[in-house]
Amino acid sequence: MSDRMLTMAEAVREAMTIAMEERPEVFLMGEDVGIYGGAFGVSAGMFEKFGAERIIDTPISELGYIGAAVGAALAGMRPIAEIQFSDFTAQAMDQIANQAAKIHFMLGGALHVPMVIRAPQGSGTGAAAQHSQIVENWFTNVPGLKVVVPSNPADAKGLLLSSIDDPNPVVFLEHKLLYKTPGWEPVPEGASRIPLGVSRVVHTGKDLTIVATGIMVKKSLEVAEILSAEGIGVTVIDPRTLSPLDMTTTFDSVESTGRLMVVQEGPSHGGFINEVIAQVAGSRAFGSLKAPIKKVAGLNIPIPYAPQLEKAAVPQVEDIHAAAIEIVRSWR
């Protein structure tokens, strides 16, 4: 696209290509990533460009090839291991949580595991319960893993480049609904990185702070525009890296607006976004609160199949809007 309004898939592909051109030790492995170009087309054209030794088609063996990625990383390479649906990270859990995450610490720093596990997550395609999960919180509570959730293509590119650079295992979760759509801003040319562990303010307003992750950032931005017209000012913050988590921006914002709302797609109970609430509640920003902290999150159910049910399972723009109005108007 000449105007650089790339889709998430294109942006991720660009990042991987740049990384592989920069470093010979970077390679991509996963199911159907080679000849097929990836189940969501993310690696389209890369097999032709880089060959079978750098774009490796694996058998259906998540546990096996994630473990192989760990071993390859220990032996000096930088694998990008793609898991076809975030839900399948469950197959590979031992190698992710017990091996990759812990090796550097357990072995006293003797070895480290520079690898990236990429997977599409999220609902909205009718793929139903076992192909639609938000899994970020499965990993944010495992010390030793970094967890990155880009909300738009421009961020995805810069964040992925940094993730590949990182000497530690990074779980990089893309939203499948964003693969084929451009973001709200152009993707920069070149190889510039976005550092991990830095959150970003994507909209500014004085009455309410919204912290949102993944595709909920886009929805929250829509709500911010609507509310702006209604005379309510909303600040939207995108953490981008969930672990390690940058909360400074959020603390500052809550001290200013006095109201916090957190939005995530994943099921409410035990979800990642609770960490944001917990940290604010125990922080310098607590005394500035004019309202209780509001959480808008998915229902505690597996994602249902029928489209109206699937939609009802996760927050929509209307839900975020209604919650924001309620908080601002009831709590003056």
């Binding site: 006095g258 607590f286 005394g287 500035s288 609160l289 004019k290 309202a291 209780p292 009831s330 709590w331 003056r332």
Partner: protein
């Protein structure tokens, strides 16, 4: 009040017809709490414990351990503090009659009692809620402004004080102090008059149309007129007006000698002034009687208080079904029962 409740052999399974009393966990005269085990029953299927349905006392045990009873038959009788809903169509004759309320004459102790000196009235300022909920920002602002959160009326959800509630509150410590002083003064006066032998009468009335000021003016003037028929000549009618500063009692001197329109205007302006904490000097003293309009509080007229050196006091109120009533309290040293009844009759007729 206490209730009587019979605990019967309960049906505890679909097929149960009788149950065997295994034994009692309580004795006659024992006090029990809801949920305490009373006795155990063995049925064809299972052993079960039967619990007290409410707090109370075991009055009488009417079945013996080991007895096999049909379901529904009485096992023990207990007094309960709350009524236990149970439908017993062949209940035995009650042996205990329910307590009846004593009808006590509304006459205070006739012996003059020395007025105890007023000690420290440690009443805090007007408290809305002893344990207020407030958002953190409100709390901080209240601390900064020196405001007691207990005195703020919350407008937020779940009775929570919002930031704006504190921002907008004009609960000024100075005002609060004034209110406290006012309250102490009133309390002191009432305490003195409690020792006075007194009695109260109540009658139903109707209200005339018009503004509140007019209604109050009517009350004031008619009452003065009524009192004058009893031979009082220098009449000062105090009207109680509540404000954030406390109770103000401006006195209208011989109001029946002023025309109603002028009096109404006077009542109106005086009320306004009183609500902003001011009472004209000329209206501060000379009250021989006091009127309190309780209808804005949706309260019944009840027993008016007597203020020091006043032989009468009136209240107007509204009862539970919305009917207006007027009550009169008289100092029995100055007037007797007959006088009081007549006074009120005449007032009611005036209205």
């Amino acid at each position: 009040m206490s209730f009587k409740h019979t605990v019967v052999m309960p049906k505890m399974s679909m097929t149960m017809e009788t149950g065997e009393l295994i034994g009692f966990h309580v004795a006659e005269g024992q006090e029990v709490k809801a949920g305490d085990v009373l006795f155990e029953v063995m049925t064809d299927k299972i052993d079960m414990e039967v619990e007290a349905p409410a707090d109370g006392k075991i009055e009488k045990i009417v079945a013996a351990p080991g007895a096999v009873l049909e379901i529904g038959k009485p096992v023990l009788i207990m007094e309960t503090e709350t009524q236990v809903l149970s439908f017993d169509f062949d209940a035995p004759e009650s042996e205990v009659t329910p307590e009846t309320a004593e009808i006590t004459p509304v006459v205070s102790n006739p012996d003059p009692v020395a007025v105890t000196p007023v000690t420290q009235v440690v009443a805090p300022t007007f408290i809305v809620n002893e344990n207020p909920k407030s958002v953190p920002a409100a709390r901080k602002l209240a601390t900064d402004k020196g405001i007691n959160l207990q005195t703020i009326r919350p407008t937020g959800p779940f009775e929570t004080i919002t930031y704006e509630d504190v921002l907008n509150s004009n609960v000024d410590p100075a005002i609060a102090q004034r209110r406290q002083a006012n309250k102490a003064l009133i309390a002191k006066g009432i305490e003195m008059t409690l020792a006075v032998p007194q009695v109260s009468f109540t009658r139903a009335i109707n209200k005339s149309a018009g503004s509140e000021a007019k209604w109050h003016a009517i009350l004031v003037t008619k009452w003065a007129k009524t009192l004058r028929t009893f031979g009082q000549d220098d009449i000062g009618v105090a009207l109680i007006i509540e404000s954030k500063y406390g109770s103000a009692l401006p006195v209208f001197k011989n109001p029946d000698q002023i025309d109603l329109a002028t009096l109404t205007e006077l009542v109106r302006t005086t009320t306004e002034q009183a609500k902003s904490g001011k009472v004209p000097l000329a209206m501060l003293n000379g009250a021989t009687t006091t009127i309190f309009d309780l209808t804005s509080y949706a309260m019944a007229s009840n027993r008016p208080s007597l203020f020091p050196n006043q032989a009468t006091g009136l209240t107007v109120g509204i009862d539970s079904v919305g009917a207006l009533s007027i009550s009169l309290t008289i100092d029995l040293r100055a007037l007797d029962f007959y006088d009081g009844a007549v006074l009120l009759e005449r007032m009611v007729n005036e209205l």
